[in-house]
C-alpha cells in the first residue's frame, strides 16, 4: 500500500571545493535518478568554494526535475540582488529553485567586505528574517498577469499590477518593484536550518522547509511539533511547512545502504519528520549508495515515489504556489 503521507528525501552535494561544472552536474543527475526532491549546495565566504547559486544555475539546464537549493547568505549581500538572483534561478530551472538562507557571523567574513563589523548571530538572523520578508515581497511585486502586451494602447505591462514594496528594515530599505517578473513558482522555496534558536525563529516565520537536527525520532517529532505550533502562532498553516530531519550518512557497503533504508523507514513510521535531508560524508560515494541501494528499497516498501509526478520543486514538496500578497490586497480594496 502506498504511503498516505509522502516521504521527502533530499541531500547536500557540497564537500571539498570543486570548481568544474561536470562534478556538480553528475551529482545532481545522480540525485535526480534517485528522484530526490532537491539537492542543497552549501556556501560561505569563509572557506574555499565557488558561488553556490552560480553552480546550481549551471546545473539547471543539465537536469530536468531535481530541485536546486543553494545557500545564499544575507549578511554581506544586497537583499535586492539576492531576491533577483534566486528568482532568476527559478526562471532558468523552470520552477525548481530554492534558497537556503544563512548568515555570516565571523570577523574574517566581515573583513572581506570591510563594510560592517562582525555581529552576533541573533542580530544577523533578525536581518535574515527581514531579507526573507523583502525577497518574498519583491517576488510578489509583479503580479503573474502584469505583462499584457496590449498593442491597442501600446502598453507592455499593466503598471497597476506592479507594486512598490517600500520595505524599511533595521539595516536596509528597498523601494522596489523587482526588476525580475514573478518567478514560475511564485516564491522559490525558502529552506532554513532551524537548529539554532535565532534561525528557528526565522524558520517558523519564513521557511517552506525547516531542517532540524535530532539524535532520535522522538526528539525530532517534538521539534517538528514545536515548529508547527510556532508557525501556526504566526498565522501560518503548518501543513504548508515541511520539516526535514538532517541525517549525516557515511555508507561504505551495500549493507550500509540497506541499513539506511531501515533507519529512514523507522523515522518515517515514528512520524519524526516529513522527510530526511541527507548529509553525506563523502558525497560521491555516499550518494551513489543512497541512489542505488537505499532508494530502491524505500520505493519497494512504498515509502518513496518512483518518478517525479510534478515539474516544480513546490510540486515535489506538495506545497501550493503562494498567492500574491499584493494581488490579495488589490482584491480587498
Amino acid at each position: 500500500m502506498s504511503a498516505t503521507r509522502p516521504l521527502h528525501l533530499s541531500a547536500e552535494i557540497g564537500g571539498p571545493a570543486h570548481y568544474d561544472a561536470a562534478h556538480y552536474v553528475s551529482l545532481a543527475r545522480l540525485a535526480e535518478r534517485g528522484t530526490l526532491d532537491f539537492v542543497t549546495l552549501s556556501d560561505t565566504f569563509a572557506r574555499p568554494g565557488p558561488d553556490a547559486l552560480a553552480v546550481l544555475s549551471r546545473v539547471a539546464p543539465a537536469t530536468e526535475r531535481i530541485g536546486l537549493v543553494p545557500t545564499v547568505t544575507t549578511t554581506h549581500t544586497e537583499p535586492f540582488h539576492v531576491s533577483a538572483a534566486v528568482a532568476t534561478l527559478d526562471w532558468v530551472s523552470r520552477g525548481r529553485a530554492g534558497w537556503a538562507v544563512d548568515v555570516s557571523t565571523t570577523e574574517a567574513e566581515a573583513l572581506l567586505f570591510g563594510r560592517r563589523p562582525a555581529a552576533p548571530g541573533d542580530e544577523l538572523w533578525h536581518e535574515a528574517r527581514e531579507v526573507a520578508d523583502v525577497a518574498a515581497k519583491l517576488w510578489d511585486s509583479w503580479e503573474d498577469d502584469a505583462e499584457i502586451r496590449d498593442t491597442s494602447t501600446g502598453r507592455f505591462i499593466d503598471r497597476d499590477k506592479l507594486h512598490y514594496v517600500d520595505f524599511e528594515g533595521r539595516t536596509f530599505s528597498v523601494r522596489g518593484p523587482s526588476i525580475v517578473p514573478r518567478p514560475p513558482q511564485g516564491h522559490p522555496v525558502t529552506v532554513i536550518d532551524a537548529t539554532s534558536g535565532a534561525a528557528r525563529a526565522a524558520a517558523v516565520r519564513h521557511a517552506d522547509v525547516a531542517l532540524v537536527r535530532a539524535d532520535d525520532p522522538t526528539t525530532a517529532r517534538a521539534v517538528r511539533e514545536e515548529i508547527r505550533d510556532r508557525a501556526r502562532a504566526h498565522g501560518r498553516d503548518p501543513d504548508r511547512l515541511r520539516v526535514l530531519a538532517v541525517l549525516p550518512v557515511e555508507l561504505h557497503t551495500t549493507a550500509d545502504a540497506v541499513g539506511l533504508a531501515g533507519l529512514i523507514g523507522e523515522w518515517y513510521e515514528e512520524g519524526a519528520a516529513d522527510g530526511l535531508h541527507l548529509l553525506p560524508t563523502d558525497v560521491e560515494r555516499d550518494l551513489g549508495f543512497v541512489v542505488d541501494g537505499t532508494v530502491p528499497l524505500l520505493q519497494h516498501r512504498g515509502l518513496l515515489r518512483r518518478f517525479y509526478p510534478g515539474a516544480t520543486l513546490r510540486e515535489h514538496l506538495g506545497l501550493a504556489r503562494p498567492v500574491n500578497q499584493y494581488a490579495l490586497a488589490g482584491e480587498g480594496s
Partner: protein, 432 residues
C-alpha cells in the same frame, strides 16, 4: 599573404527600450530561459565572440509612474549566463554589473565562478551609476558624487584583480590586503585563479573619465559611435591613450553597439528599416519621447498633430532612470524647424529624429560596410543589437556572417576555447 584584420562580433540580448519591438508577432518572452538559449545558440552558430546582457536595477519611471510602453523586466545577468554556459560551448558570456551597488569581494567571486564553470568565457561590463533613484533599492543608498564614480569603479576593478590573482599557481590561497579610498578587503579569496586569469573587462562609458578608465583598465570598450567618421575619431582618441598605461593598441578592442536591417535589395532594406522605426515609435511612445525632451506632461497633445508651442522645462524631474537630456531647448528648436520644414506631425517628427539603424542594406552591402569600419580604423568589431527577441539575429548569422567569412574577415571556426582567445587578448600576468 598578409592576414586580414579580423572582425569581432557580439550579440546584445534585446533591451528594455523602444529599440526592442515587442508588438511584432514574432516577438517572444524577454524572461523565459528559452529566449536566452535561442539567441545564444544563434550567436554561437555564427561563431560570435560573445553574448551580452545589460542590467536593470530599478524600473524606469515617467511622470512618477512605472514606464509601461517598452519591454519591462529581465532576469539577473550572471545567473542567466551560468545557465547559458550549460547550453553553449565556446561563446563568451558578458554580464553588465554596476560597480556602485556591489562590493568587490562578492562580485569578483561571482565572476571568477562564472569563468570556472564556463571554462574561461566570462566577461564583466563595468558600469557606474550615482543616482539616488536607483540607490533606493540598495543598502548603500543613493548618492555617490559624480566625480567619484570612476575612481570607485577603477578601485573596484583593481581590487577584483588582486583577488583573482591571489591564489598561487599550485592552488593555495594567499591573503589579500587591500586598503583604499573606497574599499577595505582583507582575507582569502574562496576561488582559485580562473581559466582566463581575469574575466574580460568591458567598459561602456563615453565621457573623458570613462575613456581614460578604459585605456587604463578595460579589454573591450562598448561605444555608441556607430558612424564611420565618429568611429574613426573615437578609435584614434582611445587607442592613443593606451601608451600612457604601457599598453599596446591591440590590448583594447573597440566595439560600437550597432543595429542593422537587411533586405533583398537596398530599397527593400530601407523600407523594412522605416517600418521598424514606425513599430519602435508607437503613438504613445512618440508623446513619451517628446515629454522626455520637454520635461512636461504632453498627454493632451495629439501624436498626429503639430508639436507643442510651449517650451521645455529644464528643471524637470519628470523622467527617472534615464540619462538626462543636456540641452532640451536646442533639441526642441531643432525638432520644430524640422517639423515645420517637412510638415511633420509629432509622431512623424519623432520617427524622423529617431536614430537611424546603423547598417541598412543587402547582406553584401552590410558586410562591405562592417568590413570597411574595421579595416579603416573605426572599430575592432561590433556589438549587434537586434530589435526582436529571440530571432533578431537569425538573418545576420545566416546571410552576413558567411560573406564576412568569405572575405577572410571573420573566423569560420573557433580556434580557442576562452573569450580572451576569441578576442586575441593575452592572458594577464599573474601578479602577487
Amino acid at each position: 599573404m598578409t592576414e586580414k584584420k579580423q572582425i569581432h562580433l557580439a550579440a546584445h540580448f534585446p533591451g528594455v527600450n523602444s529599440t526592442t519591438v515587442w508588438t511584432d508577432p514574432r516577438s517572444r518572452s524577454q524572461i523565459d530561459f528559452s529566449s536566452f538559449e535561442q539567441l545564444a545558440r544563434t550567436a554561437e552558430r555564427g561563431k560570435f565572440d560573445f553574448f551580452f546582457l545589460a542590467e536593470g536595477l530599478r524600473l524606469r519611471e515617467h511622470k512618477g509612474l512605472i514606464h509601461d510602453l517598452d519591454v519591462v523586466g529581465r532576469p539577473e545577468s550572471i545567473t542567466v549566463l551560468n545557465a547559458l554556459a550549460a547550453v553553449t560551448e565556446r561563446l563568451g558570456l558578458a554580464a553588465t554589473v554596476n560597480a556602485t551597488f556591489n562590493e568587490p569581494y562578492e562580485l569578483a567571486r561571482r565572476l571568477a565562478t562564472l569563468d570556472h564553470l564556463s571554462g574561461g568565457r566570462a566577461a564583466w561590463n563595468v558600469v557606474t551609476s550615482s543616482d539616488a533613484f536607483t540607490g533606493e533599492n540598495f543598502r548603500r543608498g543613493g548618492y555617490l558624487d559624480r566625480a567619484d564614480r570612476y575612481t570607485r569603479a577603477a578601485e573596484f576593478v583593481d581590487t577584483a584583480r588582486e583577488l583573482w590573482d591571489s591564489w598561487t599557481p599550485d592552488g593555495a590561497p594567499r591573503p589579500v590586503s587591500h586598503d583604499g579610498r573606497h574599499f577595505s578587503v582583507r582575507g582569502e579569496f574562496t576561488v582559485p585563479r580562473s581559466p582566463q586569469g581575469h574575466p574580460v573587462v568591458i567598459q561602456a562609458g563615453d565621457s573623458d573619465e570613462g575613456r581614460e578608465f578604459a585605456a587604463a583598465s578595460a579589454d573591450v570598450i562598448f561605444t555608441r559611435h556607430g558612424t564611420l567618421e565618429a568611429g574613426r575619431v573615437f578609435y584614434a582618441d582611445v587607442k592613443a591613450r593606451l601608451a600612457a598605461y604601457g599598453r599596446e593598441p591591440s590590448d583594447l578592442k573597440i566595439m560600437p553597439g550597432v543595429t542593422f536591417v537587411l533586405g533583398d535589395t537596398a530599397a527593400d532594406a530601407q523600407e523594412r528599416a522605416a517600418e521598424i522605426r514606425r513599430q519602435q515609435v508607437s503613438p504613445q511612445n512618440a508623446i513619451l519621447a517628446l515629454e522626455q525632451i520637454w520635461g512636461r506632461d504632453l498627454s493632451a497633445y495629439d501624436p498626429d498633430g503639430p508639436l507643442p508651442d510651449i517650451d521645455p522645462d529644464p528643471e524637470s524631474e519628470l523622467v527617472q532612470g534615464r540619462v538626462k537630456i543636456a540641452d532640451p531647448f536646442a533639441i526642441a528648436a531643432k525638432w520644430r524647424a524640422l517639423a515645420e520644414a517637412k510638415g511633420l506631425s509629432i509622431r512623424q517628427t519623432v520617427i524622423e529624429t529617431t536614430t537611424r539603424q546603423s547598417f541598412v542594406g543587402t547582406p553584401q552591402a552590410v558586410a562591405d560596410e562592417l568590413d570597411e569600419f574595421v579595416q579603416t580604423g573605426a572599430a575592432d568589431g561590433f556589438i549587434l543589437v537586434p530589435h526582436l527577441t529571440p530571432g533578431g539575429l537569425d538573418e545576420f548569422v545566416d546571410q552576413v556572417v558567411p560573406l564576412l567569412q568569405e572575405r577572410g574577415a571573420f573566423r569560420t571556426e573557433y580556434t580557442g576555447t576562452t573569450l580572451r582567445s576569441h578576442l586575441g587578448l593575452a592572458e594577464p600576468v599573474w601578479k602577487g
